[in-house]
């Protein structure tokens, strides 16, 4: 019997023989993994960041080319798999020597799984400290990340719009009362006082990160909200959302905020459509080049009385060394190389941004506004970004949705607190093994 295909004839026997050969070939192929050879001095580095800091790839390639002590093989990771790809490789004992690490819980889970090595003892202590890994990289008395490039978390305002509303363009409102008064004047002048874009949710994360630091005295206190020792239903801890509700009720938020994404929302302030909003320091050089130094940084106006209130928030992206590193000292040496003055200059040349190193040469910063920001956020009395301690489940199911709903006027600040408390309880039920880790971590976080 034959079956016809496109005019030619194939016998069933022939088809089955071919199938057998294909199947056997495929199985045989999968049974013998490719033989890989890695020289002893070879360092594998998985990194990310080109996506948020264009030019970083050029810097990495340049650093690899100029480093002579070892051969470094970099691999740029996709945003969606930065954590999962590393954890899967580490679980299989095949993690890269050096891994890119976001701050806080985004690398702490890998620490708890035993996938990362402490950097203290491997790296020069002074270099490690100057890199500004921040407090959120500490666990059980050790430091697991080196700071690489900085992310000052800032509020911004448009000086032109302040002038239009007859506000002092050189003085941002520092207290909540001053802020509300400024919003009133801006609104009267026909300007959207504050906002941005929250359609993708991130604005809510940033907002909470700024606001919660006015409520808690230490990041460790914030962690206790998740372990169940403190509750979001306490008016003290849902106050950030209550303040957001206040802005909504006064009609101070820009009307398109709910349907606009984060970065187009920041563009509204740069374009002179919204007077104040949230941003990150890495945008400042470009935004001030575009506007002629009309975008100034500010700390979120203060309503709280905590020890952290009113201080600039400073976050860094970083790098760490995996448990699978063949020669951890060699990997640490490359990390130290990235902190050298020559590499700090190269980072600025390639990206227009600067290294997170507190001793970085600031003469490369031409804009006085950007220089002022760096001195206050990067070299001053800064505090860590507390949104980075939030568990993933809380982030997805409470932190972002609550802010969106408050901004849309669908829920109150108190209802946001109730939802947050419910999701926190669910997180503990879903992740019973994580609760003890969080409790232990809170001791490092003060």
């Amino acid at each position: 019997m034959t079956s016809k295909t496109n005019g030619s004839t194939i016998s069933r026997r022939r088809m089955m023989q071919t199938s057998a050969a294909l199947g056997a070939g495929a199985i045989a192929g999968s049974a013998f993994p490719a033989w890989r050879v890695r020289a002893a001095e070879e360092i594998n580095m998985w990194w990310w960041g080109e996506q948020e800091l264009p030019g970083l790839q050029g810097f990495v390639e340049d650093s690899v080319k100029n480093y002579t002590a070892a051969t470094v093989k970099p691999m740029l990771q996709d945003t969606a798999v930065v954590i999962s790809q590393f954890q899967t490789a580490a679980a299989a004992g095949k993690a890269p020597d050096i891994q890119y690490l976001w701050n806080g819980i985004y690398h702490m889970e890998s620490v708890w799984l035993g996938y990362l090595q402490p950097l203290d003892g491997l790296m020069n202590a002074d270099v490690l400290k100057a890199s500004q890994p921040t407090l959120l990289s500490h666990y059980d008395g050790h430091i697991y990340r080196m700071g690489w490039y900085p992310l000052p978390m800032i509020w911004i305002y448009n000086k032109d719009l302040f002038e239009k509303a007859k506000l002092d363009p050189e003085k941002a409102p520092a207290t909540w009362d001053d802020f509300l008064a400024a919003c009133d004047k801006l609104k009267s002048a026909g300007v959207s006082p504050v906002g941005g874009g929250i359609q993708d949710g991130y604005w809510g994360e940033w907002y909470w990160g700024h606001a919660i630091s006015q409520i808690v005295d230490t990041p460790g206190e914030a962690v206790k909200l998740f372990t169940g020792e403190l509750s979001f239903e306490d008016p003290k801890y849902f106050e950030p959302w209550a303040r957001l509700e206040e802005l909504k009720k006064h009609d101070f938020l820009n009307p398109e905020m709910s349907s606009t994404e984060l970065y187009p929302g920041i563009d509204l302030t740069v374009a002179g459509k919204v007077a104040m909003g949230e941003s990150i320091g890495a945008r400042m050089p470009k935004d001030n080049e575009t506007t002629g130094d009309k975008i100034a940084p500010m700390v979120m106006p203060v309503f709280g009385k905590s020890k952290l209130a009113g201080k600039p928030i400073f976050d860094t992206q970083g790098l760490g060394i995996s448990k699978d590193a063949k020669d951890p000292k060699a990997a640490a040496a490359f990390l130290e190389y990235l902190q050298s003055p020559e590499r700090q200059k190269a980072l600025h040349d390639k990206t227009g941004w600067i290294s997170s190193n507190s001793g970085t040469d600031t003469s490369v910063l031409k804009s006085p506004v950007v220089l002022d920001m760096w001195k206050r956020w990067g070299q001053g009395d800064n505090i860590p970004y507390i949104s980075n301690v939030v568990p993933g489940q809380f982030y997805e199911q409470a932190l972002l949705p609550t802010a969106q709903q408050v901004v849309a006027g669908k829920i109150t600040g108190e209802e946001a607190g109730a939802l947050a408390a419910k999701v926190t309880k669910e997180w503990r039920d879903f992740n019973p093994d994580m609760v003890d880790n969080y409790k232990k971590w809170s001791q490092d976080l003060g």
Partner: protein, 293 residues
């Protein structure tokens, strides 16, 4: 035929069957196994049905299910719209060949592309609202994607627009194979357009309509991720108003480090889809029989 001859075909097929089992069967078994574990990294302790218990006790999961069910409302609209357009095209209204191409274009474009364009159009200060304000219909200039009251309906509108294209093509293909003499006879007997559609055309299209309905149900229950991912800001927002089961699974595995939970929901979705595939196969068999008959 000897016993060895009877076994020979199975022996030939065995390697490929083994490969298929490995490719499809192994992940399926793994998902069932993961759904019973608290996975950290790539494995974890056995916890029985605890993941299912947690899911069934969580409001967000049921909200996601409810959103999938709400989207099913789109199906009768898709069927009615596809039928209307395909019959109009079948009547050869002027330029019908061009319309046929235009109508099918959304179906060949990637969902993320059309969803991203649609999202821009439906922003509060986007072209749709600008047009509504321009014609004086300000009361209709709603926050289509920014309000939890309207966001899921806006997603549904996009689904209807794109998925109807498949219905139109399927229905038109069936219409072009109808026995025209029956329609002509009805016309000669004095049947008007609606009577011809109601009593002559639709009965002959029953099987293809049923097929389209089942395919659409499966699509809406298990293949709307790209729509809600783009339109809902990547997270089923605003709030949780556009979270569907697929997005719930994605969030659990990628963003919450809960592969066990994601696996448990995947198992449930798999079982529901399996239940729906049975009538789909039955319909295809009936369609084949009708064609042969």
């Amino acid at each position: 035929m000897g016993q060895s001859s009877r076994l020979k075909p199975y022996l030939y097929a065995a390697p490929l069957m083994a490969l298929l089992l490995f490719v499809f069967g192994y992940p399926l078994v793994q998902i069932f196994e993961f759904s019973m574990k608290l996975i950290r990294g790539i494995d974890g302790p056995w916890i029985g049905f605890r993941n299912y218990e947690l899911i069934f006790g969580q409001d967000l999961f049921w909200e996601a299910v409810r959103h999938n069910l709400q989207l099913l409302i789109a199906i009768p609209i898709m069927v009615a719209w596809s039928l209307l357009v395909s019959i109009l095209l079948y009547d050869r209204l002027k330029g019908w060949k061009l319309y046929r191409v235009l109508i099918f274009i959304p179906y060949i474009l990637a969902i993320p592309i059309i969803a991203a364009i649609m999202k821009k159009m439906f922003q509060f200060d986007g072209p749709v609202n600008d047009a509504l304000r321009w014609i004086g219909a300000d009361f209709l200039a709603l926050d289509w994607i920014g309000s939890s009251d309207y966001a899921l309906w806006t997603v549904m509108l996009l689904i209807i627009w794109r998925e109807s294209a498949l219905g139109i093509i399927l229905f038109l293909a069936r219409l072009l194979n109808l026995d025209e003499s029956l329609i002509e006879a009805a016309r000669l007997d004095g049947a008007n357009w609606w009577q011809r559609v109601r009593h002559v055309i639709l009965p002959q299209m029953r099987v293809v309509i049923e097929f389209y309905v089942v395919v659409s149900v499966i699509t809406i229950l298990s293949s709307v991720f790209a729509y809600v991912y783009i339109m809902g800001g990547g997270r089923g927002g605003p709030g949780t108003s556009t979270v569907v089961v697929e997005l719930y699974i994605f969030g659990a595995i990628v963003r919450q480090s809960l592969p066990g939970i994601a696996s448990a929901v995947s198992v449930l979705l798999f079982l529901v889809s399996l239940l729906l595939i049975v009538p789909l196969f039955a319909m295809r068999r009936r369609a084949n029989e009708e064609e042969v008959g």
